[in-house]
């Protein structure tokens, strides 16, 4: 089994899992916050935020990678700020890959959560308020559990997207085996050489198996979340 993939490929698989997991996890809280803002907020610039969130979907991944490089690169305004102030370097690091994946998956995450937020019965939140719960608490113990299905769906989408993301990642952090070479980068390399099909196939299969596992887990969580709310 282990020699079915080369050590370098195993590294790519592990890295992909790490990147996808971190991308999903790190974008969760901002995702919930932005979903709340977009769905509930009435503020100036809401439309602009909405557009910005959707951009990674609308633009070709290469452009996003480009923009990331310009913004978060070593010389980019945000990148240099992060590096100087917090010592966080993204370029050529797996963290940069995670950032690229998180950004590409962000619109999907936000949409799923937004849909759930929209379907929450606000009368329940009112009821919680009458019982003395501050709005922050109301969010935490009423809204959040009720939107759990949407959060789970959003996480699945974000994770899956991160597993498949390639264009923005390779443009931003290029392809450094062991550091930024994720499964899609490795597959890409295979597709670029004549006769690379079998290698590409093997890695594709690994991706499929991982996504089956991820879906299976998410369904399990979603079912639990739903059972808590519904009858029987």
């Amino acid at each position: 089994m282990t020699d079915w993939l080369s050590p370098e490929e195993w590294t790519a698989v592990r890295l992909s899992l790490k990147v996808a997991f971190v991308a999903m996890t790190a974008s969760l809280i901002p995702g919930i916050a932005v979903a709340l803002l977009l769905e509930r907020g009435r503020f100036w610039g809401r439309q602009a935020l909405d557009v910005i969130v959707h951009l990674p979907l609308v633009l070709p991944p290469v452009v996003v990678g480009w923009a990331l490089l310009i913004g978060f690169g070593r010389r980019g305004p945000i990148g240099s700020f992060l590096a100087e102030q917090f010592g966080i370097v993204l370029s050529f690091r797996w963290t940069g890959a995670a950032l690229a994946c998180a950004i590409m998956g962000f619109p999907l995450l936000v949409r799923a959560i937004r849909l759930s937020i929209a379907s929450v019965d606000r009368k329940l939140e009112d009821a919680a308020g009458t019982l003395g719960a501050h709005p922050v608490w109301v969010f935490g113990i009423v809204t959040l559990p009720l939107i759990l299905p949407g959060i789970i769906a959003g996480m699945v989408l974000s994770f899956a997207k991160a597993m498949g993301e390639f264009g923005a990642t390779i443009t931003f952090v290029s392809n450094i085996p062991g550091e930024t070479q994720t499964i899609p980068s490795a597959i890409y390399a295979y597709t670029q050489v004549p006769g690379g099909e079998s290698g590409a196939m093997r890695l594709t299969l690994v991706s499929v198996v991982i996504s089956i596992a991820a879906l299976w887990m998410s369904e399990w969580f979603a079912r639990r979340a739903r059972l808590r709310v519904q009858a029987r």
């Binding site: 009458t130 019982l131 003395g132 709005p135 009858a231």
Partner: protein
């Protein structure tokens, strides 16, 4: 005044313009469907922000649009039993019940969980999710949730509408206790005059967004025509009485009212306890002489104060019985046949059994 409401609010084409005050205890809101009861309760509870006006509860200004005061709902310390349940679907019954408790300062947690659960008969449901409860079960949990929040203001929007009489009979004394002991003002929406008569200290009658009458329950209920809109069957006088003695052998209790002695089914309260008794106008028979050989145990002598002809087949006869005002509803034919007229001495006959538990409310000493 414990509760002052003076608001104007428009929603859609509906205009609510309500102004009333109440001296605490239990304030009943009464009126036909769509008359604005829930809207008022929502304004008191902070769920509706009235366009104009003031809401003051126990000297605390909750809303004053002129001064731009609007206390958010989570700082009003209310317990709200909603017309439509609103249980938290993701929490089990126990968690629903304890929800408000998490936000109650520890030393103010006085409601006893086990007691409330027993009272409402929901002990076997504690681990269940709301979606598996029957209609009445949901409603009971909603009541419990509000009570266990140890509110400083209890809002109840038709809380007992879908409960059976036996269950209601168990819940009433609890509400009475809250009203009398806890110094918790209660606002209750109800369509049942019996319920209001039993529980209410003040009554606010609404119609199409306006207050058509408001005042002490004893006053409002005597004006039987006010209730024409809800069917006249339930109107009657509220009379204050004290427990004189118990007749254990017969399971009866003898009350002393100004009008005389009243014999009623046994009431489990100590001798001397003050009580409010509703004498429904339709339960009272008038007799020219003191009758003999009747199964009715209560015969109160009195004098006709006035006769209210409301135009229907029946008239309301106001009696003066030793200081208590009593109303009897009799047919116009009886008025003619018996020659009833103001000033005439008559006897009011009331069955002991006519005092169903609903009609016998406990009462705070300062009340009525």
């Amino acid at each position: 005044m414990i509760l002052e409401v003076d608001i104007r609010h428009e929603q859609g084409g509906f205009v609510l313009q309500a102004r009333f005050q109440s001296g605490g205890g239990l304030t009943a809101l009464f009126g036909p469907s769509g008359s604005g009861k829930t809207t008022i309760v929502n304004a008191i509870g902070g769920l509706v922000r009235p366009e104009h006006g003031r809401v003051v509860v126990q000297d605390r200004v909750l809303v004053d649009t002129k001064k731009n005061v609007f206390v958010p709902k989570h700082r009003r310390r209310i317990g709200y039993v909603f017309q439509e349940g609103r249980l938290f679907p993701h929490l089990d019954v126990r968690q629903n019940l304890l929800f408000g408790r998490w936000f109650t300062p520890r030393r103010e947690r006085t409601a006893n969980f086990d007691h409330v659960v027993d009272l409402l008969g929901i002990g076997h449901l504690l681990e269940r999710r709301p979606s598996t409860l029957s209609g009445g079960e949901k409603q009971r949990v909603a009541i419990g949730r509000a009570l266990l929040a140890d509110p400083q203001l209890l809002l109840m929007d038709e809380p007992l509408a879908s409960l059976d009489e036996a269950r209601k009979a168990e819940i009433y004394p609890y509400i009475e206790r809250l009203r009398d002991e806890g110094a918790v003002p209660i606002v209750l929406v109800s369509h049942s005059v019996a319920e209001i008569a039993r529980l209410a200290t003040s009554v606010v009658v609404l119609s199409e967004g306006r207050v058509t009458a408001s005042g002490r329950a004893s006053e409002i209920l005597r004006h039987t025509d006010l209730f024409a809109q809800v069917g006249p069957a339930e109107a009657g006088a509220l009379v204050e009485a004290q427990i004189l003695r118990h007749e254990d052998g017969f399971g009866l209790t003898i009350l002393q009212a100004k009008a005389g002695l009243l014999t009623v089914p046994r009431i489990e309260r100590p001798i001397g306890a003050p009580l409010r008794v509703r004498l429904r106008a339709r339960d009272i028979i008038l007799s020219l002489h003191r009758p003999e050989g009747l199964s009715a145990l209560n015969i109160l002598p009195g004098r006709i104060a006035s006769i209210d002809d409301t135009g229907g087949p029946s008239v309301d006869v106001m009696l003066e019985c030793g200081g208590d005002a009593i109303v009897a509803r009799v047919t116009r034919r009886s008025v003619r046949e018996l020659g009833l007229a103001p000033g005439l001495a008559v006897h009011a006959i009331i069955k002991s059994i006519a005092f169903d538990p609903e009609a016998l409310g406990s009462v705070a000493p300062h009340d009525v």
